[in-house]
Amino acid sequence: MPKGLIHSKDDDVCVVTNDVKKGDEVICAYLENPSSYVIIKSEDDIPLGHKIALRDIKKGEKVLKYSRPIGVAISDIRKGEHVHTHNLKSLRWGKWQSQ
């Protein structure tokens, strides 16, 4: 079963540490306490190092990793979907980023 890691318990995303295929179940362990984990069914093919959503995220919501905002969702993201530049944008460096 593919694996992943979550930096912090508040996080909205898990980083997969293997290549993941759509339909795979991913065991995401918490870095702060690796014996605790959640299992997420992947909705996409997700390459090693990329992020999978741990919950449904609404368009306009901030996305947390390291329990800190890493950007804003620019479309609705369903639990299990690939989170990347197609649905997540920076909050920084000017208003051109907030489109």
């Binding site: 540490t17 362990a29 090693l48 950007g71 530049t85 997540l88 944008k89 920076s90 051109w96």
Partner: protein, 388 residues
Amino acid sequence: MAVTIKGYIRENGAVGIRNHVLILPLDDLSNSAAVGVSKLIRGTTVIPHPYGRLQFGRDLDLFFHILAGTGANPNVAGVIIIGIEENWANKVADEIAKTGKPVEVFPIEGYGDLRTIERASRKALEMVQDASEKQRTEVDISSIVMSIKCGESDTTSGLASNPAVGVVVDRMVDQGATVMFGETSELTGAEDIVADKMATPELREKFMKIYKEYVDIIQREGVDLLGSQPTQGNIKGGLSTIEEKALGNIQKLGHRKVNCVLDYLDPLNKSKDGGTLCFVNTSSAGAEAVTLFAAKGSVIHLFTTGQGNVVGHPIIPVIKITANPKTASQMSEHIDVDVSDLLDLKISLEEAGERIYQYMLRVMNGRLTRAEVLQHDEFSPIKLYISA
């Protein structure tokens, strides 16, 4: 028990771990003659670059700072400077001479390339023979000045390789060594965390001023930086935004207070008692940052990578570390330390840090890094603006 390494103690007491005789072109026009000397004289290290003509103001000061600092670096035994004209070359030579090491200037005007190559080669020959007699001696690890930076990062950097370097940074600072970090723009989204690490309100203020000035320059261009910062490689590796990249980046800073903040032209003053963790204003481009760290006195660099940055430096060993198992196998000739087993939680963070630390000690004692063997000799002075 005090940890020691075998290094070269220079005339001014600074400790190096390499013993280069440097052929330093003062300007782009002098590259040919400088390379000519390096081809004739075995044991010399030449660092061609595209700058040094018609620069002015702060940009010129930074250029001199980088050239003089590179020559003054304790990994260098002696320096030959070749310049089209003598005046600027002498300025750099005078700075390097303050360290007490041998330095000689050879101007091209009035001689031409061929006679300059001959004159400089005769001197370089002597310097190489003299340098070959320098011995490594046992010195306390507190005398080491080092630097850290990541490049072509991906999410494995923030998960594993960067926090493992953080373990090494804590250990080096606790042993009284000096560690420099930078990457000013790449702290965006985590700059408040770095500001909170500052040991005094004055340092915090200086850091935030430098940070804001840098980001203002970027914002003035009014462009979307996606693809540049994060880079295409970062994005391929799963990093989506500058904030995510920055939060991964700062994992390598460890847990000690930052007790030194240096703008471009500020010299490093090694603290007499206790370790130093020092922020240096740098670009986030790998070769530019390593070049500036070396110019400020770093003698060894820890470089973490996710997707596989191949950077090296002509006079300081750059140790490449990755936690990405694909990069570790696909680009193995570039990777000195593989900590991808940390990504699978097969080893602890402490164990990964220990692996890097032990490897670093071997490199300090003389083992060549892969970048050194592969001749990755990137020397990239930062240029602040146009020439006149």
